[in-house]
């Protein structure tokens, strides 16, 4: 949280706004066409990346923008997944309703987990999210044993309004649409007055409080909102994985999403996207290397899992030490250079 990246888009730049529209249109086109042109394997990778973005982006709003460092996100995913499973199985409801119910549960739990942030900060607040993670996952375990049995909740193939959407390609579209929706909501929040309130939360800005922004209310609001989004994503994730079981929702999973926003760039929506893609691609890349050269006597390539763990750790360390503003920082300096060259400087 050392790098405070300014989020407010420069208002008086109509050309930037125009460029934004072009970029958005381009993004929609790429998302729509992607599964038609790439192999199913890469569709799966893209689905995973989109899902990761839908979870990393709200986390980035909480941690990057509002400065609330949380390791609670895996717990919010399990809260969402199990709320979704419960309402789906008990009332036979459709996915969108299940996601809304999960979001409501996530908002409530997020509010509770956010309460310590009114009293604690820094390492102490982080410890409280760590404790919350284990307490929530334990509650989920008890819920799982009583409701779904030891193996966890098995999700049926996804159907919405009678249409079977469980194929790889249709799952991709469902998740991509959801991720885009999350992205839009967050982009709007960051551009609105709420964005300013979040920066005030981060800065613990006395002036902001004097200007009528209640820091406490803004804090609880952002905990609640981001947890709701993560919980909703949890339902989709469980559907995609086909099941939800507490063993999946580890502290390491929570850390993965924090790593994404760190690598991508704290406090930046584009950063969440880049980070989600990058961290999703690391195991893919290592597995490719290992498959290609691993064989027998392949040295460390014979340990793809361990190698992945090492590389993942090195990436995190390297970004903190060398590029604290993340991949988005690289992109920004590159575009700045292009603009400067064009302007003939």
């Amino acid at each position: 949280m050392t790098q405070s990246t300014s989020l407010a888009p420069p208002l008086a730049r109509p050309r930037a706004a125009g460029r934004r529209t072009v970029l958005a249109a381009l993004a929609v086109a790429i998302i729509a066409v992607l599964p038609l042109v790439v192999s199913p394997y890469w569709t799966t990778v893209a689905t995973n990346a989109a899902l990761a973005f839908a979870i990393a982006a709200p986390l980035n709003l909480l941690t990057g923008n509002a400065g609330q460092f949380s390791l609670g996100n895996a717990a919010f995913l399990v809260v969402g997944a199990y709320t979704g499973a419960y309402v789906t199985f008990t009332f036979d409801l459709e996915l969108p309703i299940a996601m809304l119910a999960a979001a409501a549960a996530g908002a409530l739990v997020g509010l509770i987990v956010g309460l310590p942030s009114l009293r604690l900060r820094g390492a102490y607040l982080l410890m409280s999210t760590l404790a919350a993670h284990y307490i929530l996952v334990f509650a989920a375990l008890k819920f799982q044993t009583s409701q779904f049995g030891a193996a966890g909740a098995i999700f049926p193939p996804l159907r919405i309004a009678g249409v079977d959407l469980s194929g790889e390609r249709s799952m991709y579209f469902v998740i991509a649409v959801f991720a885009a929706l999350i992205g839009l909501i967050i982009a709007n929040i960051m551009r609105s007055g709420h964005g300013r309130a979040l920066e005030a939360v981060k800065a613990r800005d006395v002036a902001a409080a004097a200007c009528g922004i209640s820091v406490a209310r803004a804090k609880l609001w952002v905990w609640s909102l981001t947890s709701a989004m993560i919980a909703a994503a949890g339902v989709l994730q469980a559907y995609y994985l086909g099941s939800a079981s507490v063993e999946y929702y580890t502290l390491n999973l929570a850390i993965t999403y924090v790593a994404m926003i760190l690598v991508g760039g704290l406090g930046s929506l584009g950063g969440s996207l880049l980070g989600a893609c990058f961290v999703t691609l690391v195991p893919v890349g290592v597995n490719h290397l290992s498959d290609a050269y691993g064989g027998e006597g392949g040295g460390i390539l014979a340990y793809p899992h361990e190698l992945q763990t090492v590389i993942y750790g090195l990436i995190i360390i390297a970004f903190v030490l060398l590029k604290p503003d993340g991949l988005i920082g690289l992109v920004r300096s590159a575009t700045d250079r292009v603009v400067r060259v064009r302007q003939g400087r």
């Binding site: 949280m1 050392t2 941690t63 460092f69 310590p116 942030s117 009114l118 009293r119 604690l120 900060r121 820094g122 390492a123 102490y124 982080l126 410890m127 409280s128 760590l130 404790a131 919350a132 284990y134 307490i135 334990f138 375990l141 613990r204 502290l251 850390i255 924090v258 790593a259 760190l262 704290l266 460390i300 340990y303 899992h305 361990e306 190698l307 992945q308 763990t309 090492v310 590389i311 993942y312 750790g313 090195l314 990436i315 995190i316 360390i317 903190v320 030490l321 604290p324």
Partner: protein, 288 residues
């Protein structure tokens, strides 16, 4: 009654292990302000190294592991931790998380994946005690070593030059530097001590259960021990560890084994909400 007393005894033993790791966390947090998430990995790799040398017997194996992991801690400080001084919570936590990954992955590549075993530190496997109670000898040794390490460290902080400089750097880093404390050097000592203590806990745990990199997760309780005792108190880390260990074993005895870890996290949460400075910490600015 016997169950209760047994839970107390084992809880104190396990708690002493958490206390060892927490002691390292406190030494680092107090002097550098970095919240170290790699304590578990340092502990586990200590267990793995000790078990790899198991043929030498517990004490020699544990001694070598302590020295080796102290070296890992020192190197970690010299390479990746030193540039982070003064950069706040997030970078420190993330780098130590990255370090955890690097240590765990490297351990697998260097020492293989198979779990190993380590002999008991002393010949008798369990001590029979009055009222039908008993205690694992390794846990008893753990308790003794942890108490000794805490006392030794407390004296070192009081009497030695580096201890004095670390204490000064903890509260006024610029004043400490002004009077000759080289932060790169003294924090390397802090990291080496943290690594050594964690490795000792790892070796003991390896002799109790099994040496495998996955025992790193045990050390999560060290965070609870650290907060319960007070983040800047060495004796607090030890007693906090005992309290957390006893809570855990009591919860395990009376509620079921799956309540063990969650009960420690409840203790952690309760302390954060009611007494964030812990039992022996200095009340300072923890509020927003």
């Amino acid at each position: 009654m016997t169950d209760f007393l047994n839970a107390l005894l084992s809880g104190a033993g396990f708690g002493a292990l958490y206390g060892l790791v927490a002691l390292g966390l406190v030494v680092i947090f107090k002097s550098t302000g970095i919240l170290n998430f790699s304590g578990g990995a340092l502990m586990a790799v200590g267990g793995v190294v000790a078990a790899g040398l198991g043929a030498q017997g517990f004490w020699i194996a544990a001694g070598i592991a302590v020295v080796a992991v102290a070296g890992v801690g020192a190197v970690a400080n010299l390479t990746v931790m030193r540039p982070l001084l003064g950069r706040g919570l997030f970078p420190g936590v993330m780098v130590t998380i990255g370090l955890t990954s690097v240590i765990e992955g490297s351990s697998g590549i260097l020492f293989g994946r198979q779990p190993r075993f380590l002999a008991d530190p002393i010949g008798v496997p369990t001590f029979q005690l009055p009222f039908g109670t008993s205690m694992s000898s390794t846990l008893a040794v753990a308790f003794g070593l942890s108490a000794a390490a805490t006392a030794l460290l407390a004296v070192a902080f009081r009497r030695t030059s580096v201890g004095l400089q670390l204490r000064a750097a903890a509260v006024r880093p610029e004043v400490a530097a002004m009077f000759g404390a080289n932060p790169g050097r003294i924090f390397t000592y802090a990291w080496a001590v943290a690594g050594g203590l964690a490795a000792l806990a790892g070796a003991l745990l390896a002799s109790l259960t099994v040496a495998d990199i996955s025992i790193a997760a045990f050390a999560l309780r060290a965070f609870a021990a650290m907060i319960v005792g007070g983040v800047d108190s060495l004796g607090g880390a030890f007693l906090g560890g005992i309290l957390v260990g006893v809570t855990e074993l009591l919860a395990g005895t009376y509620l079921g084994d799956d309540f063990r870890l969650p009960s420690t996290m409840v203790v952690l949460m309760v302390f954060l909400m009611v007494r964030p400075q812990g039992l022996f910490g200095t009340p300072e600015v923890v509020r927003p």
